[in-house]
Symmetry: C2
Subunit: 196 residues, 2 copies
């Protein structure tokens, strides 16, 4: 589908990704999408609603695919999490946009969570689902003897998600691919330490 609504959504995602939500301009979005402000306000009742739609329709599906699904489907959680981080780091290190602007969900979280409850709720729901998926996978791994008995799966899941936010956030101002790979490998060593 290449409907007007979709084009606006895509242009808005890029505008906000590059300039932040507050810094992004609806006029620019209309222009870039080839539509007009009339069209924009026809589909989204204000700037915030457009932002919410981006979280739910653009960012969340991509996040699920990149981060959550691979963990949900696995039969070996530690290896799956390691592989997911390694793969996503490898991909993003090659992606100049990602190096410059980091993780779109994290960006919105940092900028808008304290200012707008609608954003906070939606973003928090995304991260919570991710934490749950990791904790569940680790719990299953525990029962299979792939994860140490003493490991607090909820705590570890919280830390792993925090690590992702931190690693991607760091890249945003170091612009240093090497550092990202290093911290990724350190995280993998940590994950190995969870094995029996």
């Amino acid at each position: 589908m290449d409907s007007t609504r979709d084009r606006i959504l895509q242009a808005a995602f890029e505008e906000f990704y590059r300039n932040g939500f507050q810094g992004g301009s609806l006029s620019h979005i209309a222009e870039k999408s080839g539509a007009t402000k009339g069209a924009l306000f026809h589909y989204f009742k204000n700037k915030a609603e457009l932002g919410y739609a981006i979280v739910e329709e653009v960012i969340q599906p991509s996040g699920n695919e990149r981060w959550i699904d691979p963990v949900k489907k696995t039969s070996d959680p530690v290896e799956a999490i390691k592989a997911t981080f390694r793969r996503n780091i490898r991909e993003d290190v090659k992606n100049i946009e990602m190096i410059e602007h980091g993780c779109p969900l994290n960006n919105l979280a940092q900028e808008m969570s304290p200012l707008d409850e609608g954003f906070r709720m939606r973003i928090e729901r995304s991260y919570e689902r991710w934490r749950e998926a990791i904790a569940d996978a680790l719990e299953r791994g525990k029962q299979r003897g792939q994860v140490k008995k003493g490991v607090g799966t909820k705590e570890v899941a919280a830390l792993i998600v925090a690590c992702q936010m931190g690693i991607w956030g760091t890249m945003r101002n170091t612009k240093d691919a090497e550092l990202m790979i290093q911290s990724g490998e350190a995280l993998c060593s940590y994950l190995d330490s969870l094995k029996p």
Copy 2:
């Protein structure tokens, strides 16, 4: 000292901390500091320079005191890092401002690094100094037999700093003190795994 310049700096820190740099208003800052726009532009040649001054004169000294000095002075790095995290988590969990708005340096980093090279440089320098301090301390600990031989001190330092960014960033949109304590404890377990 309670000079006009200091009052402006303090008011600006709070305004930007609460509303972000782009969202913060110079008029509000002038008003809140009891000065005027004339005074503000007398001391800072534009909004960006005011932001830079905040990084260097307000945020960095506090960050050194809270995070870097305790690690530099220690004779047991792993325990010092654990204690620093525990203490800062304990402090910030009780601080409603911190829960709502997270780490001031991280906020500025996420918002401004991709948009303004002056911010990026200054912020990156802060984080780099911190990573160095941790890596040095771990290296010293290694020679004293307090840290495993196989540990990559640079990699671990990068991960630890990323964890701080992630944990404080998470708190900002969960507003959940328990989660912060949990991830902090998971980090402490990880740090213990670095011991021989």
